[in-house]
Amino acid sequence: MSALLVALAVAAAPPPAPRMQPPGHIVVETRCEACHSPAGWTPVAFDHSKTGFPLEGRHVFASCRACHGSSTDFRAPVPTSCGACHPDVHTGEFGNRCASCHDPSSWATQFGPDAHRFTNFPLTGRHAAIPCEECHQNQRDKRFTRAAADCFACHQPDYLRTAGTSIDHARAGFGTDCKSCHFPTRFKGARFAGHDACFQLSGGPHAGISCFDCHTSLTSFIAPGTCMTNTADCMRCHACAHETQTHARVGGFQCTNRKCYECHTFTAGTGLRPPATTRVKR
């Protein structure tokens, strides 16, 4: 009955005037609750994911007008590329693909040592645990171009710092290709690959020993790898009494450094191997 009364009231009333849109709302629907809540006209909520640009991270807290400008026509297209709203502090070096290093939660970079692998300089060893600015010193432009992937470009001072030390690289004639001897974890514990041509250190009983376990000096090198240092002191470790006893049947044996080296190079192909009974004096 009540429905019938309502129907009659509607029928009796003149046709309604067109409903007015709030000023500036260039929209066709008037489902206010789609955006507004009973708390008031602000704050406004809207399921932005339906637009193809879901609001993620900090974008959730951005005001509508920060992107849509002063227009109230929220259906007008808005550029979705990062550069359309955010100024590029990298002066264009990385183009418009901000997401390679940043995510919407903050501008804190997601680029780390793992991602550095996709450059011309993989961060290995200690390089992965130093502040970026130790290599990328330009703070002004926030650019990250590298001068060179060459060790010496950064480690020249370390090379020069060996002057006056027991392993004076320049006097010993060592090259500047640091990685031929050093691991990227630390300078100490270097390997000299060319040493095997004279005396094997990469394997065998002398693997892993340090330079001064044998050499009395490195400054008298004529050139690395020439096998003519005359500074190797075998007797530091190998006691004469013991070696004389074990070499009793070796003709011409003398307990001197040079004599050891005439037979023992431990280099592959010589056929000589260390005696099984070798004992080391410590």
Binding site: A7, P15, A66
Partner: protein, 548 residues
């Protein structure tokens, strides 16, 4: 409209009203979340279903909220949850006693009331943008953060520790259309040990990238910035102590000039060794969604530059970015420089300083391609490490990746790239697959597994397993296990195993906490991860950040 038609329409409405009442009897006693922000949920039911402010709601899946505001058919709720969550409705309130409505007023009275309302004057309420709204009407924001970072290497002299405070103000209104922009960072090295490459004598450092006052109105007119300016969208222009002034057209296009002294590249201290003076053009246009060209951005710079390392130069740079349909985004950036000698009477050493091309294409909805090419001619030299190779930096880089979303929750990608150092002619290349499960844990988790084969001056291979879990804007946790093998970068092959984690927690609408750690050990052929011959590294970074 005839009377008969009105009566027919009225009967139809009566039927609909009666039908709606009948359907109301069968309404299920379950409500759901229509939309969720970080703090507020929007429910599809209201007081008609028995909700009242202050009422506690527990979701059937997980989480709860407390009803904030209620209308007849909708409600807002404060708490945690996400769109689609459902909850049981309370028992409906007892039906109100039927009250008889008063007799409707006569048509004459109704007509009189309508005419009174129609003739009543009301002032229109229009929106007026606050003047100088920064980037296209931005109201301004303040970012601040404090941060601690530790770097530690086994067998080394000790950890490096840095504390820093960062602050940024974007487009804060100063009144009369003026805005303030600040971007600065204060850093303190509480512990460092030799060898130190970067500012070894300065344990305390202050960097100011921006401290400028601007006037830039979205409706057009004069636009300028003065102070330590990060020139607004001038391609390739670094910060300067000076001014930028131009004229803005309606729609965002702008033309003008800029000039000033360029700060020291390492300390950012004011310096007169490096200056620039030039002109710029900025244009940006958004087209209708049904047009082929959807978005076009074009910017240009012509400048005279005087640097202490490259001397006097003329530089020209242009940037064009376009979105073509919804399938292709492309950007091209070119910079050309020429030395100036003998009072501009001759230009020499014209060189291509930079060419950058970026493109992203989506030929199919399930397939996306992304690639870039970079040629860096080294016109902006970098004080690179203690070696200080001032004129270095010439390099080329290219990458191409393809991602295929084979299923709704499966993405298969191929990553590839190459980078060449033109100074030393050293090149590295890499290519490999990545498989990702993208919609795990009810859309909250992503697991990816990748492998890359690398070639060049430091060949090797990498593999990783990454797990990402996030809870809609509140918490994000990332864990990654990595393995690397590198050759020719040491006397022997180098094997490394790494673990990194990153936690981002939004503690409230304005405060966030971030913690990231990274640990690696060099296996180096050792069977024990922590034997004396291996090396371990550890990096930890914690930040408390606020945005207001």
């Amino acid at each position: 409209m005839s009377a008969a038609a009105r009566i027919a329409g009225a009967l139809l409405v009566a039927g609909l009203v009666a039908g709606a009442g009948a359907r109301g009897e069968a309404r299920p006693r379950v409500g759901s979340v229509l939309y969720a922000t970080t703090t507020r949920l929007y429910l599809d039911v209201g007081s008609r279903e028995g909700l009242a402010p202050g009422q506690a709601i527990r979701f059937q899946r997980a989480g709860s909220c407390r009803v904030e505001q209620v209308s007849e058919t909708r409600a807002t709720c404060l708490g945690s949850g996400r769109a689609g969550d459902t909850f049981a409705l309370p028992e409906p309130p007892p039906p109100r006693p039927v009250t008889r409505l008063p007799t409707p007023a006569s048509p004459a009275v109704l007509e009189q009331r309508r005419s009174v309302l129609a003739s009543a004057a009301y002032p229109p309420v229009d929106y007026h943008e606050t003047a100088g709204g920064g980037v296209e009407g931005r109201r301004g924001s303040i970012d601040a953060g404090i941060r601690h970072t530790t770097w530690w290497v086994s067998g080394g002299p000790g950890a490096w520790n840095q504390e820093r405070a960062d602050a940024g103000i974007r487009g804060a209104s100063l009144g009369a259309g003026f805005t303030l922009d600040l971007d600065l960072s204060a850093r303190r090295w509480s512990r460092r040990s030799d060898p130190i490459s970067f500012r070894p004598d300065d344990p305390t450092q202050l960097y100011v990238w921006e401290a400028s006052i601007s006037h830039r109105n979205g409706d057009g007119g004069p636009a300028f910035s003065i102070g330590r300016v990060r020139p607004y969208r001038v391609p390739g222009q670094v910060i300067l102590d000076g001014a930028q002034a131009g004229w803005r057209l309606e729609g965002g296009s702008e033309a003008g000039v800029f000039g000033g002294a360029v700060p020291n590249s390492v300390t950012l201290a004011p310096s007169f060794d490096h200056g620039t003076l030039g002109a710029y053009w900025i244009g940006q246009r958004v087209f209708e969604t049904d047009s082929t060209l959807r978005f076009l951005r074009h910017e240009a710079r012509v400048a005279f530059v005087n640097t202490d390392d490259l001397g006097k130069r003329l530089e020209g740079e242009a940037l064009v970015e376009a979105r073509i349909t919804r399938r292709l985004d492309a950007a091209v950036n070119v910079r050309i420089g020429a030395g100036v000698a003998h009072g501009f009477s001759s230009l020499d050493t014209i060189r291509l300083d930079a060419v950058r091309v970026d493109a992203t294409a989506r030929p199919l909805d399930s397939l996306s391609l992304s690639g870039s090419f970079r040629h860096e001619g080294g016109s902006v030299p970098e004080l690179d490490g203690p070696g200080h190779l001032l004129l270095g930096g010439e390099a080329r880089h290219a990458d191409l990746s393809a991602a295929w979303e084979a299923m709704e929750s499966l993405r298969i990608s191929v990553l590839s790239g190459l980078s060449t150092d033109l100074v030393t002619q050293k090149t590295r290349r890499w290519i490999g697959p990545e498989v990702a499960l993208t919609h795990l844990l009810a859309d909250r988790g992503v697991v990816s597994l990748g492998y890359v084969e690398e070639d060049g001056w430091a060949p090797g291979r990498s593999a990783w397993l990454q797990i990402l879990a996030r809870s809609q804007g509140v918490l994000q946790v990332l864990a990654r296990l990595s393995w690397f093998q590198t050759s020719q970068i040491a006397p022997g092959n180098l094997d490394e195993l790494g673990v990194s984690t990153s936690i981002q927690a939004q503690l409230g609408p304005h405060v966030a906490f971030r913690l990231s750690t990274m640990a690696r050990t060099v296996l180096n052929g050792q069977t024990s991860l922590f034997s004396a011959a291996t090396g371990q590294i550890f990096v930890a970074d914690a930040e408390l950040a606020g945005t207001f």
